[in-house]
Symmetry: C2
DNA sequence: TATTGTTATACTCTATAACTATA
DNA sequence: TATAGTTATAGAGTATAACAATA
């Protein structure tokens, strides 16, 4: 019998997490993209051209890693580098037309996936799901915060 | 205003997925464990001693990788290797007392996290969440199946 | 001949450190 | 002196291929 058990809910959340991550990874891999490379395209599509330093903040990775990511995306023609207009140290990374097309396609796939996965869920269940997840995300922040207070030096 | 939008729900699901994965990874790293190494301990705790070949099936990784994982866990004293009683090719991997303690501690942490994250969610919201996720997981299987039919050669 | 586990090797993702050019 | 990006290097996680011992 199915109980209303927090542990059951957490297990389902982890199950969903794993499957979604796998789905995303496979979908992107079919387009020759890493999850992190896709994040670059997403960030540039959201925020416009960015300096590599800003990209590293956006992605939460090292500036050195941004070099690798942009190298790869430039090689496939998804992004281009250009000198920064005023700061000659900096490099401005922009989506190419092809990169914008990739961003648009990814947005479409997101909608397709959303319809496939949540399209048959009733409006009230959908709202309930979002509300519950929002609550869990808020508690997650508290939980991580309290753990960091107990165990300093970790994230 | 918050709509009942499938795309919003999917975005929240991805957000939760990322945070949960990070939480798990950090928690395990603090114990010196990889996610996959923890899976080994979990599998042995659930199913009892296993031959390495069975572990590779359970984890969905190569037999070679199991060697690496068991090497690491054996080095820290969490598991031990023993000859298989009847098949002299095979190696039986078991949890040590220390490994069982680790499994028990991880189970406790799972309950702690479940209470922290879902403990304040009402029983009916909890049931709704589990039901919705179960539905989404079912559609996910269909969705992945249909994609594989369109795009053979990709698991 | 098929299977279990291993040695040897390599690839991907990401990080740290040292260096160059510019600010 | 500080900052943006790079070259050089390293480490973790995982894979494929060839091989030994056993079935």
């Amino acid at each position: 019998m199915k109980q209303a058990d927090p542990v059951l809910a957490l297990d389902r959340a982890f199950e969903l997490a794993g499957r979604l991550a796998a789905l995303m990874e496979e979908t992107l891999a079919a387009r020759g993209l890493t999850t992190t490379q896709a994040q670059v395209i997403f960030a540039l599509n959201e925020r416009g051209p960015l300096v590599q330093r800003d990209l590293s903040q956006e992605l939460g990775c090292t500036p050195r890693h941004v070099t690798t990511l942009v190298d790869a995306l430039e090689a496939t023609g998804a992004v281009s580098r250009a000198p920064h207009p005023t700061d000659r140290r900096a490099t401005l990374v922009s989506l190419t037309e092809q990169g914008e097309a990739a961003a648009a396609r990814m947005a479409g796939e997101r909608q397709e996936a959303a319809r496939a996965l949540f399209g048959h869920t009733s409006a009230s269940d959908l709202r309930g799901f979002v509300t519950t997840v929002d609550g869990v995300l808020a508690r997650l922040e508290e939980f991580v915060g309290s753990r960091c207070a107990r165990d300093p030096g970790r994230g």
